[in-house]
Symmetry: C2
Subunit: 139 residues, 2 copies
Amino acid sequence: MGDAMMAGLINKCLKNGIRITSQREVIIEVIEESEDHPDVNQLYQRAVEQDRTISIATVYWTVKLLEEMGVIDRLEFGDGRARYEESGEHHEHLVDVETGEVIEFYHAKLEALKQQIAREMGYELVDHRLELFGRKLRP
Amino acid sequence: MGDAMMAGLINKCLKNGIRITSQREVIIEVIEESEDHPDVNQLYQRAVEQDRTISIATVYWTVKLLEEMGVIDRLEFGDGRARYEESGEHHEHLVDVETGEVIEFYHAKLEALKQQIAREMGYELVDHRLELFGRKLRP
DNA sequence: CTAAATGCAAAACCTTTGCCTCAAA
DNA sequence: TTTGAGGCAAAGGTTTTGCATTTAG
């Protein structure tokens, strides 16, 4: 197979017609490789390791742009900072209140129920935000 | 019936043994009378109408205290500000993305499902946050 | 070449805090 | 009286922005 099937954030960005600068390449790569849900400062720290010249202002500009294009999602876990992740299959977050660990999950029934509730109230669901906060049960 | 049945934020505060100052009385009354989900600045504006001497710092101190006592809830709708409401029967929020209006709802099935999901993942649900964002359907 | 992106520093916000004064209980 | 509360202003942390410079396309 050729390049036609290539996915990845960079390609989504190309499709959106934005300029790919060296800084954006690094920042986008950092986001793609992150398994956690980094805030802007974490993205900046990871990006600056690969390119000393990147400024945090550029990281702010970039995440704003990527979010507007819909290729990343902004998350909020209640501390004052925005966190980001590549947008992909839909999933929710469960935050372990003791460790701060964030566990992703998907639950079809929940998806359906949210849609249904909105419809029952006379609304078309365009977005939602759900976070569960839990404490690990003793087995 | 006598005073024994009195509810209200002030009484909850008295039960918690905090000092009821004139400023707190005003701020608490403002929260009780608010039908919306005001942020700190809105609470301050409404409170200062009744008592010019109230400072915004006192509003911050007070909402922090009330939240710790569990008599009000802190909400976040994605703009950078915390919003508050008197805590009562549990309910969720649906935000009309066109008007900004916030509609409260309660859905037993949803409550049960959240608990169930957490349990399935090996967690005891201690808190959660859910907001739906929707657009009004044409009838 | 030219519009768009970067970097820097300043500013804008929201929230917290130190400290002295004041008042509730 | 004594301890908690209030007010002010400064500081903290995150995010945005104006502007001169650089660069991708």
